[in-house]
Symmetry: C2
Subunit: 243 residues, 2 copies
Amino acid sequence: MLPVSAQKSMVLSHLRRQALFKPLSDDALAGLAEYAALKREKKGTVLFSAEAPNEKIYLVLSGWVKLFRETLAGDEAVTDVLSSGGFFGEFGLSGHDEMPYGAEVVEDAEIVSIPRFLLAEEIMRNSLFGMAVVQNMTRQRLQRDMEIEHRTVQSAPQRIGCFLLKFCRGDNAGPVVLHLPYDKTVVAHRLGMQPETFSRALAKLREETGIRVRGATVEIDNLQKLVDYTCSACSASFPCADK
Amino acid sequence: MLPVSAQKSMVLSHLRRQALFKPLSDDALAGLAEYAALKREKKGTVLFSAEAPNEKIYLVLSGWVKLFRETLAGDEAVTDVLSSGGFFGEFGLSGHDEMPYGAEVVEDAEIVSIPRFLLAEEIMRNSLFGMAVVQNMTRQRLQRDMEIEHRTVQSAPQRIGCFLLKFCRGDNAGPVVLHLPYDKTVVAHRLGMQPETFSRALAKLREETGIRVRGATVEIDNLQKLVDYTCSACSASFPCADK
DNA sequence: GCCATTTCTTGACTTTTATCAAGCGAAATT
DNA sequence: AATTTCGCTTGATAAAAGTCAAGAAATGGC
């Protein structure tokens, strides 16, 4: 275990790197870091379940964290899977004192938690920061709108194609090799389908677009072919501004 | 047509009534009203299409407005249908200068538009207002999360039941009579299904829960029965806090 | 390196939703 | 009042996705 001071300065340097925190002064950041806690969590750890008390904002530094809602019947709907720079628990800001979703680590992660009242204070104090938060929320809402669109108008193979394209750069013409960042089961739920459907849909996508899949590795020889197949059922087209 | 001054004061009184604008001073409100425009629009009017320039924030005073995204293939995904108090166009705040969706009046509506830079200025000036906007955005994001959940885990009849329950008060034990606020076709798309599916699913719901439907009128004799049938596939249960 | 566990795939089948086509009924137009 | 339009329903059929079950492949622990 690192000494406390060393850990604090590490947290501070991580916070400084977050786009959202750019408008904050060094003093303000130091104030956050003072009360922030950094944790390393293993895959499978449930950070909290829905309806847990909501007092902190969490920021993902590395790894992947799944946000989900569970029905009485036991089905789960994954609303998002976050990586570095993603944060959650912000509903505390709007007066919800219970978490509306659960959070589970799906790939070993480092997570910083910050008491939410500190952020609320900072929003009030620094209007530039407030504006940055508004913009971030707005962008997130837009992403949710797109998610709703995807789930209603895209077929399962198209949703997978869209997911893969999120990891491709727009200027990349040649062959692309990428690795699925977390388990296929999680990807499946992230895309609103069952693992079996995912498996079959991936096979179909392979057939239609010539991509090659071996385990978690995906090779895309002809990016345009994948784009043509995937984005025909979308309002945006690759490279999408909001991913 | 009313004289300009009378119209301005009408706009002002409408703005004053909005929960979101509560933190604003009278001066600030008057400033907004000065540059705000009130319009009455007929059902069927397209306020703007996706990719239109995004310079205003719109606030619905009465009637209903549908927000939707259209794919290249011509399918449309309705992300929301707004009534009094709902607003849209707020993506301008996060630097998007194109509307990410289209907006169409689905029931005769009164709509106020406000130049977005005025609101951006006010967010910067009044941190209480900034906080209110953050909270509003946060709540909207949560609603989108629930929407995603509903579309993945609820069946078509359940989604309709859930929709009907939004118009019921939690304390209402006895029979409830309500009217669908806009065309069934719009409700169908709002719930992410085809009109034909909506029609059949409504018949199924009627069968399962004993509700009676005649045109746009729905009579619910046994609210609990509807709740039991509908909310079993949801993480929240009636009466839901966020509708 | 081997075994145990987990994750993924495949097959057979069911359920749900979409699609295409036709017909009904209420409301607006003339 | 007749006609046209639009919204809604219904039927037949197809496509998509879910479910249950079994087996294959990959992964992690020892």
